[in-house]
Symmetry: C2
Subunit: 222 residues, 2 copies
């Protein structure tokens, strides 16, 4: 709980420090000692407030994931409210925009959590696997029908396949803030203008989702 003065309490200080260190070093490589030192609190405070390291990991995600997914659904609601046939690009922007815009929230550690989320999407830790599946079920229930309506010629199974590829592109963009810049000799920087990055990503995955269905795809009658 953050107090009215803006000074984070012990619990949030631990969550902030854990989020940062998990993003930088990974879950197992980050010790409770490192977290409490970074947070400026006592070592025993973690077990007092969270019970165990695994439950701390869960708390780090719970704190951020629910608001993030609610924002996605609000954006999709707004989109469908103003146009009963929203564009594919609009739907995809509602999906990838909220996590990528975390990058702008520098005051509250947004870029850090964005990186953590990106790396955790491709490397699910056992401790948070259930959180992801549960939270994602809600998202899939809303976005899958919207995508199927926007892509009427695409068989439903094919939507799953291509969203899987799209999530990979999104996750890679979220966690890799340095390699793209390195390999492009500084010419491409995903963090420099996050809205431009979102536009590029949306146009890439929208085109991928609209790709012609291969005639030899098993299970698809042509």
């Amino acid at each position: 709980m953050t107090t009215a003065t803006g000074t984070p309490g012990t619990k949030d200080r631990i969550l902030d420090a854990a989020e940062k260190l998990f993003a930088d070093e990974g879950f197992t490589a980050t010790s409770l000692r490192a977290i409490t030192t970074e947070a400026g609190v006592n070592l025993a405070a973690v077990n007092y407030h969270f019970g165990s390291k695994d439950r701390l990991i869960e708390a780090v995600f719970e704190r951020r994931l629910a608001p993030l997914n609610h924002e996605r659904i609000s954006l999709l609601d707004a989109l469908e409210g103003s146009d009963e046939n929203p564009s594919l690009e609009g739907i995809l922007e509602a999906f990838v925009g909220p996590p990528l815009r975390l990058h702008r929230d520098t005051d509250r550690g947004g870029p850090t959590f964005m990186r953590l989320l990106g790396r955790t999407l491709t490397e699910p830790s056992q401790a948070i696997h259930e959180i992801f599946v549960r939270q994602f079920a809600e998202i899939a229930a809303r976005f899958t029908p919207a995508l199927e309506r926007a892509l009427p010629v695409l068989p439903p199974d094919e939507v799953f396949w291509r969203m899987h590829f799209a999530i990979g592109s999104m996750a890679h963009t979220m966690c890799d803030t340095f390699r793209l810049k390195l390999l492009s000799a500084g010419r491409c920087d995903a963090g420099e203008d996050i809205d431009a990055t979102i536009r590029r990503l949306v146009s890439f995955i929208a085109a991928g989702l609209r790709a012609p269905v291969p005639v030899d795809t098993p299970g698809v009658e042509t």
Copy 2:
């Protein structure tokens, strides 16, 4: 070194066990004790043969990455030898085919290394960062010009951006062998027919690479 009898020596037994456990648990969560127990060798053998855990991690990648990248380049060579303007799909298949076809090599732990490679692409460990950058430089030097020739209307910077997205799709497909199946209620299984998976992935990223260049992209004159 594997002997002529087909019985792996101590060194390869350690590498095989490390590869498996790294893919399942991650680098830091895997102890040398777990590796030597799995390999059926003595604990001290790791430090005798490799010097340290970090050098063992490097050796796990060195053993597989060089042949993999040589296969990519051979495929591209063959492609350019038979047609001076190879198709975008052909180039992309030469890039994503070799790592994904590791999945078929069940006898020699291919699926395990595929998963490890996928997760390491998005979450680079400090110890192997240099290996990836060095190995990838060779690949980029060959594939970047080929892609630019296949996409003449695309500004070179945009090729970097879109290949970044494409690599994300590929990496996610490589390391996630269960979530797609889970979320699609068993209807999509990337490992069931790896050639079909490659075709789907290639068609997705080819369409993404061919997406129209947004007119408001900074740095692009229209």
